[in-house]
Symmetry: C2
Subunit: 371 residues, 2 copies
């Protein structure tokens, strides 16, 4: 295979692996550079595929892109199950619940916005919510049921992508990238990996690897806990449950094996990956407002990851120089946007047109260049 078909993907998280798998299956020769593939921010994610409950007036582009990727998810999951393993897609849907009158107002705004866009979101009384999820606490006043917002087991997904990549011939270079140039990646040991095209998919670290990304990508710290149901405790819910408590967003995402992911803080504190005592206290306290029974669950993991924030909450997907594509800035939506991002990178490599929803994510939007 000639050099012109050689692609190096920098970053082995959900975006890098999804891109590598798709690009390899499109007939390219692919190497992924990552010191610890699968173990980036996406390893610590909650797993929500929830463009609707994540949406907000003014972020229509984000909703449109997320919805188009969510539509691709069932097929993506079934292809991945065949190619690498079952990513644990869950179809039970999402509840967004309100604890006080401010929350009720927030959900009303969201419901109105969604109605205007023709999206499905049904108002539910407290009694109806408890009939759906008996563990919901007495402080919950009402909520929205969004059956189309799904969830996936992020770790099963990453493991399956890693397997699918290797089966499709992707090679892994387990090293840190130090610098990115069009057609070349300089590693920490000063050696260089050459190729026709580099795809920069290094999440929060992307800004450190290329000056064009430096002003556009910032780390957004998220602390997240993993709980597990225990004998004698209330069963874990079947749906994802989201809420705001004292303005802090909290979500609880169940896994098939009795695990319950509880996230997440959102902190603009640079490249700090400490889990603070205060964050854990807040997450537990807030989640107990929603599902009091979690006090009896086992706390099995506390961790912090760095999302890749962009200036407008849309990702950065496109060409920044000949021989250098980027796929980063996915913020809280990396898992959701993996299928559409992977397809977009293949189209860019082939010189094909992108769908409008993806063209909105072109990084050129920040440089005034004509896209």
């Amino acid at each position: 295979m000639g050099h012109e078909r050689a692609v190096v993907v920098v970053g082995g998280g959900v975006i890098g692996l999804s891109v590598a798998w798709a690009v390899a299956d499109a007939g390219y020769s692919v190497r992924v550079v990552d010191p610890t593939p699968t173990r980036g921010a996406s390893w610590l994610a909650g797993g929500m595929l929830a463009p609707v409950t994540e949406s907000w007036p003014g972020e229509e582009h984000v909703l449109e892109l997320g919805s188009s990727s969510l539509a691709a998810w069932p097929d993506f999951a079934s292809r991945l199950t065949a190619a690498g393993g079952d990513p644990g897609l869950r179809l039970e849907g999402t509840l967004a619940v309100a604890l006080d009158s401010a929350d009720v107002g927030t959900l009303d705004v969201l419901a109105e916005f969604l109605r205007g866009l023709g999206r499905e979101a049904q108002h539910r009384t407290a009694r109806e919510l408890r009939a759906m999820e008996p563990g919901i606490g007495p402080g919950v006043r009402s909520g929205l049921h969004v059956p189309g917002d799904l969830a996936v087991d992020n770790r099963a997904l990453l493991t399956a992508l890693h397997t699918a990549c290797r089966r499709s011939g992707v090679e892994f270079v387990t090293a840190s990238a130090r610098e990115i140039h069009p057609g070349a990646v300089v590693l920490a040991d000063e050696s260089t990996v050459e190729c026709a095209v580099v795809v920069l998919a290094a999440g929060a670290w992307s800004g450190r690897l290329h000056p064009a990304l430096e002003p556009l990508v910032r780390p957004v710290k998220g602390e997240i806990l993993r709980l597990h149901g225990r004998r004698g405790a209330l069963p874990v819910p079947t749906r994802t449950i989201r809420a705001h408590v004292e303005s802090r967003p909290v979500y609880l995402v169940p896994r098939a094996d009795g695990e319950l992911i509880l996230g997440a803080t959102q902190l603009e504190v640079g490249f700090d990956e400490s889990v603070t005592a205060g964050a854990v206290r807040d997450l537990l306290r807030d989640a107990e407002q929603v599902l009091p029974g979690i006090a009896e669950y086992a706390l099995t993991e506390t961790a912090a990851g760095l999302r890749s924030g962009s200036p407008d909450n849309l990702p950065l997907i496109g060409e920044v120089a000949p021989g250098l594509l980027v796929a980063t800035g996915h913020h809280r939506n990396g898992l959701l946007l993996a299928p559409v991002t992977a397809d977009a990178v293949v189209a860019l490599l082939r010189g094909e047109d992108l769908p409008d929803a993806v063209r909105a994510a072109d990084p050129a939007r920040f440089s005034g260049r004509d896209t």
Copy 2:
């Protein structure tokens, strides 16, 4: 060396290792049976050597035994530093603080009890406490200063004991014991380790290994957190700080490197080693009442261990059958009582008399036998 000098210690926690080291130095051939030496309940301990602030009217025997062991600690630590490594003994003392009027009353009872015994414990106003430890929160009303209650770095201690044991010729059998008989230990793989004397020092598991211990030793679960000071946060305190919050005891024990140990729950839930979300929430919330600045600290570890409870909070140190000694039931005081327990086992092997404080711990007290 003849069979009559062969000793097997079952259990490689702080008691088992201290016993093994002392017995080996007394000229015996010693093997320690433990699948994971150093990694028992004492690995998860706070490190308090605090017989005075742990004491309570009616438990004079516990105070007397603890005080005699505390008196032995400086020499024990300096011998251990030479033989295996520095266990990080800290001499800054302990503050017991009160958050509400019930706590003030509790500390008054303790102070009165200690005064009657001639023990040193000085009343401190809130202002005096904050002059000693500036991080103490506004909810603290008053306290007791107990300069003689010390602390040790439990992990440095265990590592040093492990090294000292090996240097003194102790052999380690990294296997689980399944049954104990006088002069013989049956391992999980059915093989037998023979010796003249077995010392059962398996903490909470001791009751499962010999029927004589079964009614006397029970597991008492303790959840404990490890925090670490961070740049920009208030410095960690210099003294151990203890309190009760809503009747739950909480303690904060500083380490030299900026670590702060936060413990501990006390739960009678059998052999359950889960860390529950509710326990972590309570520990963090209670500790913040005492030291609000910990919210900014990193939470670096959550863990649960099983203390070995006895019916009267005194340990079980003595002979239960010819060829079978026990050294268990140390509950919250294993680190404190390690020196006196190790000396007692050597004395028992030599047929020497025990000090009165240790004779009170003879397990025969529960069988009505004459000691």
